[in-house]
Symmetry: C2
Subunit: 164 residues, 2 copies
């Protein structure tokens, strides 16, 4: 099972590709898609659409997990993130992949064991699950890997994300 996790955003959209084989979890790629804030909104969304489509075509994930956008204090940011998320979900479904949404709390619960976990706890748990020596960077890419790990933990016949 090969999962693409996406942390949607217009200026910075994190992505992480995690493969599960048996009990082995491997992050095969992770990064951030950026769009130019000096471009018009529609142009930025078209650029994001192109980049996410290219990523899906190249990496061929089995399934896609996207973090759900919640209403934020900053209405403009929430709206932009919501536009970006719409583009990502449309591209995901158009590629034929099942697309699943998870709230930030669901991701935290699945990866760190409780919904109130802090960023540093999530990062440490991602590091432990992937058996890597240093925290994943940039942070948006690490968040996207956590979303992919959440989806793998939620799937039937799942590898339990939390030991014990």
């Amino acid at each position: 099972m090969f999962v693409l996790g996406v942390d949607p955003g217009l200026s910075r959209c994190g992505y992480g590709l995690v493969r599960r084989e048996g009990r082995q979890l491997t992050a095969e790629a992770a990064g951030v898609i950026r769009t130019d804030p000096s471009d018009a909104l529609a142009k930025r969304l078209a650029d994001l659409q192109y980049d996410i489509r290219t990523l899906i075509e190249e990496q061929k994930p089995d399934e896609i997990a996207v973090e759900r956008v919640l209403f934020q204090v900053n209405a403009k940011t929430a709206m932009q993130t919501s536009h970006a998320s719409g583009v990502i979900m449309a591209e995901g479904a158009a590629s034929g992949c099942p697309v699943t949404l998870y709230s930030p709390n669901e991701v935290k619960s699945a990866v760190a064991g409780w919904g109130g976990a802090g960023k540093d706890q999530i990062e440490a748990m991602v590091q432990t699950l992937l058996k890597i020596d240093s925290p994943l960077r940039p942070v948006d890419a690490a968040d996207a890997v956590a979303i992919a790990l959440c989806h793998l933990a939620m799937l039937p016949g799942r590898h339990k994300a939390v030991a014990g």
Copy 2:
């Protein structure tokens, strides 16, 4: 000048294509793209993406005008509309068309002369501008035509939308 106006929505997305030749304004096509509320969100967005892309390819507008999504009382509806709007803007820009956003008040001001105009006043003004005998239906299509008329009124060397 041939303008596609779009009133974004996930369940019902209105569109209207208006051509201006000299002082003549003609609505060449108008309608509503619907997605199935029983489908998953990502599937609905992919369906909308496909339909709007097909519409742009078939009709070949010169420019696209989209109504800006405002925060509404119903957060879920605002979020869905915002996802849909993101898909539409991305497709518009990817097609090479300039994409311009207008707030509902800008549309009302341009078409009916003031931002507080009611639905019926907008409909009557659309009817007058297009010199048609009965109001355009369905309402979402009429709203989209109003958005296209707003854009034509805003363009340099514009036909004044309001007589006098």
